[in-house]
């Protein structure tokens, strides 16, 4: 057992290294094409948000339909504090993250008393309320006209202006975010979260403080989203409330589901597939139907989404995990059996009593 674990870790580390090398080398692979780079940057930013959400959904079993609000908090905090209050960008980013965490705490306390679809509704409501604030609090946010003139982020006084620099910055954040999430998942905290997912009564009678963990993970996901929002604001230098409404929240949800919540990689994979699929359709659809506008892209995107999820109900990571397991030789034969029966959904019955 112990031995198997160590071997697995070894292989995993190796895989991670290869991944990191590819990631760092990507800019050269794409010949410094800034358009591709900016696509990658966007993937990275979305990945941050959806990694936080993956933790929240996959490991704590809580759906959030208002995540874009935190993304917005980060973006507006950075925008306002750097452009109008003259703060250094890093401080503004940190302040945004703290603010997002605080908002998550304040919102989370009442919201997490609710369950299931009530919870979904409450997060949706939170999203709508925040959107209204972004829209109406014109002195701070510039209202629907948007917020202009956000300065670029600076490292040691040097502004990061090229896509290449930004790509590395975002990658760093994504890697750190994944590492952090990965550590949480395989710790006491991660187990507690999954336990909550499985049975709240049982978890709590084993000493898991359900409210505390739900709140903490909600705050964490808010911090992820907020950081991504701050980075986005500095990158594009113009933001407006439409970026942080309900529709973007739903897009984040789509990314998480495409990626699957079976592992912390789901967020990154989901974001990548989501963005690439969109870009790919943009290139392919006009070839198939030369006279069509963007509407065909929506039809195809919807169709692909449906088909993909029918065949991969656990998202891409769900499929990949099975392959990976085999590759990592984890747990030997027995593990294979588990993987094999996983498709068979054993309904947890008797969840009604405790």
């Amino acid at each position: 057992m112990e031995h198997g674990q160590r071997m697995t870790d070894g292989r995993k580390r190796w895989l991670l290294l290869v991944g990191a090398a590819v990631w760092l080398g990507l800019p050269w692979l794409v010949f410094g094409n800034n358009y591709v780079l900016s696509t990658l940057i966007l993937i990275g930013l979305y990945a941050l948000v959806s990694t936080g959400m993956t933790l929240l959904m996959g490991y704590a079993g809580q759906i959030s339909l208002g995540q874009a609000a935190f993304y917005g908090i980060g973006a507006y905090a950075s925008a306002y504090l750097t452009a109008h209050a003259g703060w250094p960008s890093w401080l503004a980013l940190a302040a945004g993250a703290v603010l997002a965490a605080l908002v998550a705490l304040v919102v989370g306390i009442p919201v997490f008393r609710l369950r299931e679809h009530y919870l979904a509704l409450a997060t949706l409501g939170f999203g709508v309320i925040m959107f209204t604030f972004f829209k109406e609090w014109k002195e701070i946010t510039g209202g629907l006209n948007g917020f202009f003139g956000i300065p670029p982020i600076r490292i040691a006084g040097v502004p990061l202006q090229s896509d290449l620099q930004f790509y590395y910055l975002v990658s760093l954040f994504v890697l750190a975010g994944l590492w952090f999430a990965h550590n949480i998942v395989r710790s006491r905290v991660g187990r507690a979260l999954r336990a909550i997912h499985g049975s709240e009564v049982a978890a709590s009678s084993l000493g898991v403080n359900i409210m505390k963990y739900k709140l903490q993970i909600f705050m964490l996901s808010a911090v992820y989203a907020s950081i991504a929002g701050s980075l986005y604001a500095h990158y594009v230098t113009f933001i407006n409330p439409d970026l942080f409404g309900i529709v973007p929240s739903i897009y984040f949800l789509i990314m998480v589901v495409i990626g699957g919540t079976a592992s912390v990689w789901g967020g990154l994979i989901g974001a990548a597939v989501y963005v690439c699929l969109g870009e790919w359709l943009k290139a392919v659809v006009p070839l198939l139907l030369p006279n069509a506008g963007g509407e065909f892209e929506i039809v195809f995107f919807g169709l692909l989404l449906v088909v993909m999820l029918i065949y991969m109900p656990n998202g891409l990571t769900g499929v990949m995990q099975k392959r990976m397991r085999r590759f990592l030789e984890m747990g030997g034969r027995q593990e294979k059996q588990i993987a094999a029966v996983e498709g068979h959904k054993a309904r947890s019955i008797g969840g009604e009593r405790g």
Partner: protein, 241 residues
Amino acid sequence: MLVLRNVHVYHGHLHVLKGVSLQVDEGKIVTVVGANGAGKSTLLGTIAGVYAPTEGEILFEHKPLPYGKVEQIVEKGICLVPERRQIFDSLSVRDNLLLGAYRRHRRDGQEVKRDYERVLELFPKLQTMLDRPGGLLSGGEQQMLAIARGLMARPKLLLLDEPSLGLAPLVVKEVMGMLTQLCDQFQTAMILVEQNVRAALQTADEAYVLERGSIVVHGKAAELLADERVAEAYLGAAGRR
């Protein structure tokens, strides 16, 4: 009326039933006993259509069953009272019972009503809680409800997966007695899976012992009850107390 020949069932890659053959005659109670994980629940599930066998055949009244098609099998008169009760939590006890007879409402509404009265007589405890959501009952009450709901279907073949689970000793005795009575009165055949091996053997006509997916012993229930090996393996040492 029910014949299984060389039935194999897999859960994923796990070979759970390895060539089980078994026979149930009209109006007879057959019991299947065996250790945890032997495959008893899987066996009942297969007959009821929850799982499909990969090999072998199952004949009911001389015709093969539509494997894996639960609804059609119910229509043919086979009813499973499953492991873990499977109550409809948020429906009232009354609705739970009436749903048991779902397939019969259209045909014989009057008879369903009579059965309903009769079932409640068998479990007077339920009578006092007809409007309570099923999920709020105590464990044992739910078990009674599950059995009663199975009876409401008035099947030709009743499959019972550990019906005595969580029932108080007095009630176990009543239930077992009731099963025998039912069998005599309506010619209902039954397969009874039980951990309470003694009670099962006392109730049943025939018995099978399932071990790791294969039938290892088969005989008259009374004979098995007397069999020393069985006593040792499944009844626990009698001397304890």
